[in-house]
């Protein structure tokens, strides 16, 4: 049957089903194979906080969204082009985000009265004409599969578990994509389960063929290929990128690496990755709690390791005392906070940017620390290395903020060559004649790093105030003031050592929009679109929050108004208002999810006086 081919620039597909339906794995496979073909891809998994919620419930819906484009895509996409929904609840939860005339592929087996009831549908949406605005393709996928696998010795339950792969096959057809990479993947995945391997490969092929055969599928799409820079690529989530960044930084510093951590959503994957790097010589301790996690890292740093701790909000709250201690010891330490919606337990699986205050101000006593923010999954790699560089050079804990959206979302990443990575210089103290534990470098104000095992440098450090230079305990009033100022000044001087902030768009003007962390995706996309519509709005992405880039004040003075969209009640706004004593316009969303591009565009247009 001859089908029409449509060339498009982007396509957003969302796979939705029960927690047990394998939607995460399906979405992930689709994203991986897409990226390998050279598309740009941005993904986000969206799953319930219950491990395995009861079948068919609204809160049990698990989804995985993939935005695939020929150009750089910075978000998983606002609105859905193609929704795959394995049951009634999956339809109900997601229908609101499907584009008008969008494609919806449904499994009829998930629309029995039982499923309709758990989805709290009064009438069956397949019959009640509520879906007329969409292109709906509904099949009893279970039955199709049974038919396909009829000759195999496979239990009905196992057969049913392949339905995600059938849908994937159909999607491949729809997007004119080869199925071979996935066949290969299924081969490895089920290497030890030949029956499941065969079943899955069969239904993948069947799904693919289904699109070609059935009349109702009249159009096939081809997403144009982008030109990509030469190089080696992989798909990467922010959490994976952090794990790699940590090890790469240690490598560049010629140090071994230690992680002290305690599991917590959505940061745990970093611990998982690190714990699997044994043959890369990495050490870690899954500690008894967050306090022991960070404190053991401090112990390792004292021993000369590049050391880190990884956590999310509640964990960061528990590490507060330890961070003050590390600041006083002036030892390097990387603290990764993968932020989630708070306060308290809050919405543990949802992203938010509300730990900024805690990162900046959350220690007793005068205790400033550098705070950085990563803005995309792959940028997590770079910023982790940057955090390590600063930590070592300035002998200080550094807090790097990411969030659940960055940590678990993925995008393709060009793997840098090792010598593209910044070199990190470490000079352990060695000379007993000149060594003084708190004698500072004149430029950086950092103290020497002297590690046990070095003959003649035996010295004691601790949390009590210490005398300038010697590091002995000191109760002298003026010394305390001097040391407090020195510690503060040391952090301030980092501003001389970080890149200036860069404005995109006009250097001077009416409106400057600032993104930080994960708002980057939506804001950058919105700005790109507005720029292509010739709107006058400038833009800046902030990666260094303490200290701020040195030119920020000057940049600000060039704009009438500043807008900061944030996933919180205006924390960065507050910080920058205090820093520059001028009002900033906040745009805040506290809904446990990120901005969509349209929201940002609308807000900017509103400010530009253009009704939307």
């Amino acid at each position: 049957m001859k089908k029409q081919i449509k060339y498009i620039d982007e396509i957003v597909i969302r796979f939705a089903g029960d927690s047990g339906d394998g939607m995460q794995i399906t979405g992930n496979q689709y994203a991986e194979t897409s990226a390998e073909l050279g598309y740009d891809v941005n993904t986000f998994p969206d799953y319930p906080s219950e491990i395995r919620a009861p079948e068919g419930t609204l809160y049990g819906v698990s989804a995985f969204q993939v935005n695939l484009g020929s150009e750089k895509v910075n978000t998983p996409g606002d609105q859905i082009d193609v929704l795959v929904a394995m049951n009634a609840s999956s339809l109900k939860v997601n229908i609101g985000n499907v584009k008008p005339n969008g494609i919806i592929i449904l499994n009829k087996a998930g629309f029995t009265p039982k499923y309709l009831a758990t989805a709290q549908y009064e009438t069956n949406p397949l019959d009640d004409h509520s879906l007329t605005d969409y292109q709906v393709f509904a099949y009893d996928i279970n039955e199709i599969i049974n038919f396909e696998l009829a000759d195999m010795d496979i239990s009905p339950k196992d057969a049913r578990r392949t339905k995600n792969i059938w849908a994937l096959g159909l999607i491949y057809w729809l997007c004119s994509r080869p199925i071979e990479p996935t066949i290969e993947w299924l081969g490895t995945k089920f290497a030890n389960k030949p029956v499941m391997r065969e079943a899955n490969i069969r239904v993948l092929k069947a799904g693919y063929k289904f699109g070609g055969i059935r009349e109702e599928f009249a159009v096939q799409y081809i997403v144009k290929k982008k030109k990509v820079k030469k190089g080696t690529y992989r798909n990467i989530t922010g959490n994976n990128a952090v794990a790699l960044g940590l090890v790469a930084a240690a490598y560049r510093a010629n140090l071994p690496f230690f992680l002290g951590s305690y599991p917590i959503t959505p940061a745990t994957e970093i611990l998982h990755y690190i714990s699997s790097y044994k043959r890369f010589g990495v050490k870690h301790l899954q500690a008894e709690d967050e306090i022991a996690g960070v404190i053991s890292a401090i112990g390792a740093a004292y021993g000369g390791y590049l050391a880190a701790t990884t956590t999310s909000g509640p964990g960061l709250s528990l590490k507060v005392e330890a961070l003050g201690f590390a600041a006083m010891l002036e030892l390097p330490l990387i603290v990764i906070d993968v932020m989630r919606a708070g306060p308290s337990t809050g919405l543990p699986t949802k992203p938010e940017q509300s730990d900024l205050y805690l990162a900046l101000y959350g220690r007793h006593g005068e205790c400033p620390l550098p705070v950085l923010a990563a803005h995309s999954a792959s940028n997590c790699f770079e910023m982790t290395i940057e955090a390590a560089r600063i930590a070592i050079k300035y002998m200080t804990p550094v807090i790097l903020l990411t969030d659940g959206y960055l940590g678990q979302g993925s995008e393709p990443w060009r793997i840098p060559a090792i010598d593209e990575l910044p070199e990190i210089e470490v000079h352990f103290a060695k000379d007993p004649k000149t060594f003084q534990p708190y004698k500072r470098d004149e430029v950086t104000l950092s103290r020497p790093w002297a590690i046990p095992g070095t003959q003649g440098l035996e010295h004691r450090i601790g949390g009590l105030e210490k005398a300038d230079i010697t590091g002995n305990v000191s109760h002298d009033p003026l010394n305390h003031e001097r040391m407090t100022i020195l510690r503060d000044e040391k952090i301030k001087r980092i501003a001389d050592d970080i890149p200036l902030a860069k404005v995109h768009g006009e250097e001077k003007g009416d409106l400057l929009v600032i993104s930080w962390g994960s708002t980057y995706g939506a804001v950058k996309t919105a700005i790109d679109q507005l720029h292509s519509e010739a709107k006058k709005v400038s833009y800046l992405n902030l990666k260094y929050i303490n200290p701020l880039p040195k030119n920020l004040g000057e940049i600000f003075s060039n704009f009438e108004r500043i807008l900061i969209p944030e996933l919180n009640m205006g924390q960065l706004k507050h910080v920058l208002e205090a820093a520059f004593l001028r009002p900033i316009i906040g745009f805040n969303k506290i809904q446990g999810n990120t901005f969509v591009v349209e929201e940002i565009k609308d807000k900017i247009l509103e400010l530009l006086g253009e009704a939307v």
Binding site: E32, E36, G38, V228, K230, G231, T232, Y233, R234, N240, L244, A248, Y251, A253, N254, L255, P256, F258, G260, Y277, K278, R279, F280, G281, K283, L285, E288, A292, I295, S296, A297, G299, A300, G303, G304, Y305, A307, E321, A322, F325, L329, I415, I418, F428, K430, I451, P452, G453, T454, Q455, G456, L457, E458, R460, I461, G462, G463, L464, N472, V473
Partner: protein, 350 residues
């Protein structure tokens, strides 16, 4: 080969002979404990012991928390960290996992280690990192001027229990055993020879070793261990545990302990009915026996056992970390950074 700046330092040979006296482990800071404080004795013994171990001074580290006792590292001419309250063990754990080449010692108090630091303590016991922990038990929070601690006794009047403590204390030995510590010992500040001997034994034990030292706080809890330290009466109140030796005690070793079923019973050789041959022969490789004997604290008619309750060897945590790394490297090859960054699913565009 990946460069490792730490190894470069470790590999620098020690200059000069590794021969010390206790003085080499002192530094020139004033010791700021009260005159008469039991901590002095522990400090002196440890300085002597370390001098004898044949370990280069720079290869020791001494870690503490907060408390009078936790000032300890300041008085040793070693690498040291005066930690924050309760966190000596995680500092030491991170250090030892990172640097198995070091001999890591921990000085802590009954408050530091059993109150705020209790969780780290029990986990250190089970995890079995090769640390040597001396807990200075004075049954009081001294640095904060005299509140009761988790080892204070029921009824004890302190600044925060003016009408007497009402919670039952921990017995540190029993807690350590319950948490799975492989080496558990007790001794008093005044028993200096035994103190040194046990410190050495703890050092030789490859794995976590826990030593409770009764330390007299002359200011806030003076005399609480009198019956175990006063020359007149200590002998009849103290039972020295020695491996493979019968349990006898008393000024002239005139008493013994035998087991009646699993109950320790006091026997008086003078009664003519029993002799040293009836006594329980101690075995510090048996954790059940350690428990039985440790439970004697609950019976006021029995002497207080001191010495090494348990001395079991099992592979230490930091050793197993190395083993696991070695095993994985052997199995799948030493990983390179390029390989790590590439991962398993990469593609090349050219």
């Amino acid at each position: 080969m990946v460069k490792n700046l730490i190894d470069e330092i470790i590999n620098i040979p020690h200059e000069g002979p590794i021969e010390y006296t206790a003085k080499d482990f002192k530094n020139d800071l004033d010791v700021r404990w009260c005159p008469g404080c039991g901590n002095y004795s522990i400090l002196a013994q440890l300085q002597k012991v370390l001098a004898d171990l044949g370990v280069a001074r720079e290869d020791f580290a001494i870690i503490s928390g907060i408390g009078c006792s936790s000032r300890f590292p300041y008085y040793m001419n070693l690498y040291g960290v005066h930690g924050i309250h309760g966190r000596a063990l995680p500092i030491a754990s991170g250090l030892k996992i990172a640097r198995p080449d070091l001999s890591v010692w921990v000085a802590t108090g009954d408050g530091d280690n059993m109150s705020i630091g209790g969780n780290h303590f029990i986990h250190a016991c089970r995890r079995n990192i090769d640390l040597n922990v001396c807990m200075f038990n004075n049954e009081i929070y001294s640095l904060t001027k005299g509140q009761y601690s988790p080892t204070s006794r029921v009824g004890q009047k302190t600044k925060s229990s003016p009408y007497g403590v009402i919670d039952d204390p921990f017995d540190p030995v029993l807690l350590a055993l319950g948490a799975g510590a492989p080496f558990v010992a007790r001794v008093s500040d005044k028993d200096v020879a035994l103190l040194r001997e046990i410190m050495k034994q703890g050092y030789r034990h490859k794995g976590f070793s826990f030593l409770e030292v009764y330390s007299n706080c002359v200011i806030f809890n003076d005399g609480s261990f009198n019956i175990f330290t006063n020359k007149e009466i200590k002998d009849e109140n103290t039972l020295y545990l020695e491996h493979a030796k019968p349990l006898v005690f008393g000024k002239n070793m005139e008493f013994g302990i035998k087991l009646d079923g699993f109950k320790p019973v006091l026997i008086d050789f003078a009664d003519g009915k029993s002799s040293i041959d009836d006594c329980l022969v101690y075995d510090n490789k048996d954790r059940v026996l350690a428990n039985i004997v440790a439970n004697m604290v609950y019976d006021m008619d029995l002497p207080r056992p001191v010495g090494v309750f348990l001395d079991l060897e099992r592979p230490s945590y930091e050793f197993k970390v190395l083993e696991q790394i070695k095993y994985e490297k052997e199995k799948k090859g030493v990983g390179t950074i390029e390989e790590l960054l590439k991962g398993e699913n990469y593609w090349v565009i050219d």
